[in-house]
Symmetry: C2
């Protein structure tokens, strides 16, 4: 792949692009390796301001042909690298090398999915892949439709937009909400543990965040169908319009899956659109062991899936699907310069009306390559490995006197916290039950920052519905299938050590 | 970069990722070169259905370690490659090799901009780059803010969302549009040549497409400020609320730039938000010669820029900027698992509240590397080269008896059409003025499809406001700085040849 250096303004496409890319890619790989070696752990040590100063300095002085190496090394050195076993905070997966390599082909050719004549093969490939993903969800591919998205937030927005346009009287996309008869009050029902993008979508769509009715959850953060029924009935009595019910298949914090069949029954009874946010849990469809958790998803009107979560793709690899293609109607648009009617009649297909975007990178390509390289079974084994890892982590937490498990992991995430109880820890109070909850919160928040500052580990934190604001829970989201249970135990050991240090500073 | 093959499920990150990536990247480069060679032109020959069948066949049979090579070769073979001089239809640029290489580093590390602990260096880098881009627009970087986006469509949506939330009474993001007092009629003013994403945004935001008041344009597709004043005054008399004025700096079809100072004066007078859609024309800011065209852009409340158009980045490299950071308020959100308040107080910055997305790939990285590698001056030379090319193309069109130029190019695009007038063309009518306009449209639409089907060229088509539907104009968008005037002349020669063929079939 090496060769004489191409000019700085060489292009990546055409017959000569690969030769120009070769030496640049060698530079990138060297810089990635050097940066990761210098980092020497899951993230760089120090305060964010230190790193920001290094970035400012590099941007001020990097110039010419050396800029690529210098900035790439800094990006790698300054990464929170999900490929490191001690980086396990978020739904932020370590990509497969084959997916990253496939994504390079996309960058080099730069197809854009907004018209066939910018992406001939990529148009056909996305269409075929979506049929396959529709079948994975249990939809009839002959009637389903969908599109690749930037992620669950965009997919949730699309589901709620189509719901709004289907369920409200009048032509909202033309006349707007203000064209509706007076007194219409649209409502969206989602559990208290649903992703915050549901509220965001409601605001963006002009419905307002308060249009989202929060439905109570059980302790595992699963939506309570009795509470949903009560909420739907209450709205109905008040004359409100139930636009959509959002069920979550895999909450961000616990991986909880709402009871989909019961929720689907209720949505149908109240004529609400059912959107299933499976941005996290959708990965379970790849695993024979875990797929039954998502039974009922095939009844959804629309679904969000994210293969940059439990699917090992570089961002973005979001997927939005609808069960019936005709429900897409309010998004269909004709742009005379992109999809003129006579070109469509002549057989030139257009994906323009399927997306909120115009220019659109074919993120389907890396996902198709990954599915063909590993197969569903191969990807399912990776899902199972992460599930096994989460269960092993839960065992370790349960066995650690200074750690408190919140609940058994459902998918690959677990919640816990540091709670000094060990007789050997001199800073623990004589009676652990006497611990001040606010002190415990300060300690858990501080130990997480201490792990970040010292470059030892990246773990997550959250607060749970029903526990009130400020009640800090720690979180591991295990998405690296090559991590061992021993490495997770080592990471949890660091949590305990950092907890003891933090207790000394902020615990009292 | 070669080495022993890594397992199929090897990761791209960490210290060992680069070694796993090496052989896969070599495979991709080989397949890109083979695919481009087999294509042998700007796009594959044949009907879209033929290519779709090849894609279906490849997806049905590719499996295991060979899938990457096979599908990449198909993607390249089936590409409309903007690096080919005969591919010049859309605002679909050929990426710089250095930008594609930088994008690989992002794929490999997979940072996500929704929290610092998923992207420590990338967070600092995007912040610094945005300050630089704010200065490029003429904003005071100390007061501006912004974010990388998926493109002009998302940026226009963001501008109009902030405008809606600022200019309407009440708290729209919480209570929705239906919480407004009765009789409020929000209006958005945009020229008839503005991008269709303005209407799309109005629909998504719940304002409805009919909230967009179309403002007349002159023959070059520049907004007529007298017409804008009339429209604003009319809305004001009717008691409507002028939410936003959208000015276009570089229309998709002609590159026309609306008269920004006059539009800014009117927006200020009517207290409307001014959004400048410079998705195409923003590239002119890189050129000393063309930057003066955008004088006045610094008065905008918000701006869209797309460096995957006149900036040679692989998609996506959109930018959204606001002049005053505080106008971002309605998008600010706190998610307890991403940006808890005590972490922010401890110095951990968060970009979450700047974007409509949650997971977000750091598209800023490739742009920063490109700016440092070539400098603004180096990129400006590429802009000027494309501008020169468009002017040369206009000269060629003007000199061709069978081609009719619509107008002088402003940036790098030009509109024209085939119009037989050559005495040597036996199919031309004796009196060219007697040509049936509908026949001319059919011929121009058909010649474009004929160029696609025979794999000879990818040119654009459009219809212009004021000409009525179905009046086909052809378009070249010249974004390849390495294309020569002779190659463009060759491409235009193909247009004439295809026009003569098409005339025989559909002209009469």
């Amino acid at each position: 792949m090496n060769g004489p250096d191409a000019p700085l303004d060489a292009l990546s496409g055409g017959v000569t692009g690969p030769a120009a890319l070769g030496p640049l890619l060698a530079t990138v790989l060297d810089a990635l390796e050097t940066g990761a070696t210098r980092r020497g752990g899951p993230l760089p040590t120090g305060h964010p301001a230190d790193l920001a100063a290094r970035v400012t300095e590099a941007l001020a002085t990097a110039a010419g042909p050396d800029a690529l190496a210098r900035l790439t090394e800094l990006l790698a050195h300054g990464a929170a690298d999900p490929a490191d076993p001690y980086c396990a905070a978020h739904l932020h997966c370590p990509p497969l090398a084959v997916a990253a390599a496939a994504d390079l082909a996309v960058s080099a050719l730069n197809p854009s999915q907004d018209s066939w004549d910018q992406a001939p093969a990529a148009t056909a490939l996305e269409t075929a892949l979506l049929a396959e993903l529709a079948a994975l969800v249990g939809y009839d591919p002959a009637h389903a439709a969908g599109v690749l998205t930037s992620g669950g937030t965009e997919s949730n927005l699309m589901g709620l937009m189509l719901a709004r346009d289907q369920k409200l009287d009048g032509i909202v996309e033309l006349d707007g909400l203000l064209g509706l008869p007076a007194g219409v009050r649209p409502r969206i029902f989602a559990s208290r543990a649903a992703h915050f993008s549901v509220q965001r979508a409601a605001a963006l769509l002009g419905l307002g965040e308060r249009a989202v009715v929060p439905v109570d959850v059980d302790r595992d953060l699963r939506m309570d169908p009795v509470a949903l029924e009560r909420a739907l009935a209450g709205a109905s009595w008040a004359g409100h319009t139930p636009v959509a019910v959002v069920a979550t298949a895999g909450t961000t914090d616990t991986g909880a899956v709402d009871p989909l069949p019961a929720v689907a029954d209720l949505a149908a009874r109240y004529d609400a659109w059912l959107h299933v946010d499976a941005a996290y849990g959708g990965g379970a469809l790849l695993s024979d062991r875990l797929a039954p958790l998502l039974g009922g998803i095939e009844r959804a009107d629309s679904v969000s899936l994210d293969f940059h979560k439990l699917g090992w793709q570089p961002a973005a690899a979001g997927v939005f699907l609808v069960r019936r293609a005709e429900t897409y109607v309010s998004l269909a648009r004709r742009a005379v310069y992109l999809n003129p009617a006579d070109d469509e009649r002549a057989g030139y297909p257009s994906l323009l009306g399927l997306s909120l975007r115009t220019t659109r990178r074919p993120d389907a390509f890396k996902l198709a390559v990954t599915l063909r390289t590993l197969g569903r079974a191969g990807l399912g084994r990776l899902v199972d490995a992460c599930h096994d890892l989460a269960r092993a982590a839960a065992d370790t937490v349960r066995a650690a006197p200074d750690l408190e498990l919140y609940a058994e992991p459902v998918l690959t995430a677990l919640l816990f916290r540091y709670r000094p109880a060990d007789a050997d820890a001199p800073q623990a109070p004589a009676d652990p039950a006497a611990l001040d909850p606010a002190a415990l919160d300060r300690v858990n928040a501080e130990l997480r920052r201490e792990l970040l500052r010292t470059g030892r580990a990246v773990i997550g934190r959250t607060e749970l519905p029903g526990e009130g604001p400020g009640r800090v829970r720690l979180k591991l989201t295990l998405l690296n299938p090559h991590t061992t249970p021993e490495e997770v135990a080592g990471l949890l050991g660091e949590v305990v050590r950092a907890g003891r240090e933090a207790w000394r500073w902020v615990g009292r």
